[in-house]
């Protein structure tokens, strides 16, 4: 759909000047086992943790992660790094409520069974075939392989909590 038609869709308004500088900074998901999730997001997807805050009384920890094209851009000074990360788009926040990792029955809801809501995160990759072959070799579980269904250009993997992560390549959709 042409941009002009997108901007003419019912409900769409031009951005107000007051929203200048607004940044879609992060998405927060709760994770059962922080170590397991840090392993997944850093090893499988290449994220780097850039901030951690522990809330002792409320018994939870948050970690911000980014997919930094170049780690050298991450400020070393803690206060500078926090200011930097909160001004970036594409940050992932993991929230860990302490102790859930010791409860064998405990699990979070990924939003794709009832009651539905949140659907997925998406990581775009330079080569979707290569990326999926790598995930297969690593034993990452797939929700949808490239060969499944009709949309052959996208795949979905699952993180350790079962959240869906779409994998695609930035090229025009084929079908």
């Amino acid at each position: 759909m042409p941009l002009s038609a997108l901007l003419d869709m019912p409900g769409v308004n031009p951005p107000e000047a007051a929203t200048h500088g607004y940044v879609f900074n992060h998405t927060m998901i709760r994770v059962k086992d922080l170590t397991r999730s840090l392993d997944f997001y850093t090893r499988v997807l290449g994220f780097t943790p850039v901030h951690r805050q522990d809330f002792a009384e409320a018994a939870f920890t948050i970690v911000y992660l980014v997919l930094a094209a170049d780690r050298a851009i991450i400020p070393d000074n803690d206060a500078e790094r926090l200011r930097w990360v909160l001004g970036q788009p594409g940050v992932l926040e993991l929230t860990h409520n302490h102790g859930t990792e010791h409860d064998a029955e405990f699990q979070y809801h990924n939003g794709n069974a009832e009651p539905r809501g949140f659907g997925h995160l998406c990581v775009s990759v330079p080569d979707v075939q290569q990326a999926c072959a790598r995930f297969e070799a690593m034993g990452v579980p797939f929700q949808k392989r490239l060969t499944d269904g009709r949309m052959k250009h996208i795949a979905f993997i699952r993180d350790p909590d079962g959240y869906w992560i779409e994998i695609l390549q930035p090229a025009p959709f084929i079908g």
Copy 2:
């Protein structure tokens, strides 16, 4: 926590070369009424819709939106624009299953009541006091005002489906 300590947390691995070029591209949430959500995300938060795809047989529509600092950077050509948006961080995908907007009882789950999972989106703003005053003036519902609770530097508003959106200013946390 210093960056060196963050990189030493249990579970954290250095990024593999194969993940170079991976981008945390988008977060998808389902919305009951597309027009209502487009109004909210464009008028209240300043997003711009940059791609729409309708799936007639499966009866759903997806819309990608970005918070573009400058609309002039959005490619006009449709194929170029889609390739561009899929390579960006900080994209929001709204999925609308056709017809839900006509069902008075229908509602999506925001992830913050049981069963929990997804928590929130976050938009960072240049001035959190000004932004919250603007939301108040617009009648946007708050989940947490700046003055509520102990964390006086963050607020949460609610989108039309009840998803929480954290509002903060990129400065070091105070407390």
